[in-house]
Symmetry: C2
Subunit: 323 residues, 2 copies
DNA sequence: CTGAAAGCGCTTACAG
DNA sequence: CTGAAAGCGCTTACAG
């Protein structure tokens, strides 16, 4: 590949002039500029961004740490973030979180300009370690962490209000025994789950742990509730995919949704809008979060003052939870 | 951030020794190694991968160019590729294809070690340009391109056989008028569409253009077939999401699937497995493609001989297309 | 407006 | 086994 030096030689100018021209700093005469452009075209020169990054100490890359890009919530978020970042000359990368003590170090090795994190696999120390290395961090999270580094900007999702709404809605529809299908485990419940439990108060409930994919939901629900009589009045599910698997399991047993069992999902994905029955769900605007994440990250990179933000989910009632 | 120099100073050795130690080239005595490790721990040193990339002229990054990461086919593919690449110390990035003449140059600027491309927005010249810069390219594609650079490795999907199977199946089920819902446009039909048309022979058919998302499918089908009598015997849809929107539109008009109208999708996503009715679809193993893409890319990077590969999709018949 | 020069953090032949 | 030194391709203060 042609380098800046080759271009300079061909154009008969110094390598510095090429840099100036490429970066449009203005210190190049029109005549010199033309010669340089000709040489660039002829050699098909593209600046080496790695070398530039090393020099300017900014890679212009934003890293998105998500549980699973296959979850439509995250793929939508990353999609939007990518577009939004591109407008400012930044590139987004994503990575699933690996369970490896060296993982954070590896991230830091890449010298990314900023990190967005949203997952339940990293603990507060890992997040803090990134922040302490002076890499801007935006964290999407439900629960507070007391010992979170002050430099981290928090996008906080208000699950307790929305869970109260869901429970109220289901009670209005006549439900008294409601089960929650959680993606977290019982000894490390996530905020959705604990908000659910709180919202249920002294009503009868149950929490099923460790379900995050459609297929798992179908299998686990089918196994646990192996005959009709065992089903509760309603399921609240950690995401729409799980709700879909859950509905399938209910139907397989000869029960009807919503007549016999009601179901509510989360994330307002296509699945919930277009399945039969249409699934009641909670809209958490992943497009908005993707945009906010990028804009806050860029503000932090540019040393502007940045504040935490509360995200308010919205309950969308569809066929699966009302008569 | 601490650099190799800082570590060297603290450990009382030369910067070179730190490099040797970190890269485990073996030329460091145990005693020196211990001192270096201590200094690394104390300073929380992580090597700067950007600097290393510049020197060794390999970024160990693989770029995935896809239409839309929100399409489950691609998110699954990239997910698997990311995991697979990580095993060999490579990182995957993805990017949607932007309609910008400079786009290829920007890609080359990143100095990625390899490119996987699968999309209908790039033409053969753009692909060739990447290949000509000696960046290994693996291309997932349906149709042949005569003038494709020989250096590009092709993963070719055999749509004509599978389309014949679909049409045969629907004819067996009594269909004679079948419509295809395409994501491409009529004046630039993709291979799925042309294979469909070929498979239909002289039977009555129609192609609906430019539909790729669930929502669009629902709206467009609802508008075009504004009363019951206009519906054909069956729809074949470019992906499962579109099939889902299509089914919804059919039901909205008071028709039944599969009794009145049959529907077949593509990609065998969760949507098709768990919706009601379960959707007949075509399985194109995105996990397998993700793995193959990475392994072929790595082979090319390591100058091994690499051959093209034919991918054989499989028809999966479910409720939406049989009585 | 233009160029010589230092330096970003690393790797690696080479000499000791 | 260890270190001094060149060089990867760039940016940018500085001097002219």
């Amino acid at each position: 590949m042609a380098s800046r030096k080759d271009v300079a030689k061909l154009a008969g100018v110094s390598p510095a002039a090429v840099s100036y021209y490429v970066n449009k700093n203005g210190y190049v005469s029109e005549k010199t500029g033309k010669k340089i452009q000709q040489a660039i075209d002829e050699l098909n020169y593209t600046p080496n961004l790695i070398a530039r990054s090393l020099k300017i100490k900014d890679t212009k890359q934003l890293l998105f740490l998500c549980n699973d890009i296959r979850n439509p919530f995250y793929s939508q978020l990353v999609h939007r973030a990518t577009k939004s970042a591109a407008l400012h000359g930044y590139t987004c990368m994503f990575s699933p979180v690996v369970n490896d003590p060296d993982y954070i170090n590896r991230i830091l090795s890449y010298q990314v300009s900023g990190v967005f994190a949203s997952n339940n696999k990293m603990d507060v120390n890992q997040i803090n370690k990134i922040a302490k290395s002076n890499v801007p961090v935006v964290l999407l999270r439900d629960l507070d962490w007391d010992d979170l580094d002050k430099k981290v900007t928090l996008l906080k999702v208000d699950f307790s209000t929305i869970m109260k709404e869901i429970v109220e809605h289901l009670v209005d529809e006549g439900c008294s025994d409601i089960h929650y299908v959680s993606s977290s485990t019982l000894n490390n419940l996530d905020a959705k789950s604990t908000s659910f439990i709180k919202a249920m108060g002294n009503k009868s409930y149950s929490v099923i742990e460790n379900v995050s994919a459609t297929k798992d939901a179908h299998e686990i629900i089918s196994d646990m509730y192996f005959n009709k009589e065992m089903f509760p009045d309603a399921f609240v599910c950690t995401n729409d995919g799980v709700a879909l698997g859950c509905i399938r399991a209910i139907k397989d047993k000869g029960l009807r949704v919503p007549e016999d069992v009601k179901v509510v999902g989360f994330d307002n994905t296509n699945i919930s809008q277009f399945s039969s029955p249409k699934i009641s769900t909670v809209d958490i605007d992943s497009d908005e979060i993707g945009e906010i994440a990028v804009s806050k990250l860029l503000d932090k990179i540019n040393n502007k003052e940045v504040h935490d933000k509360l995200i308010e989910p919205k309950l969308i009632i569809r066929e699966s939870s009302k008569k």
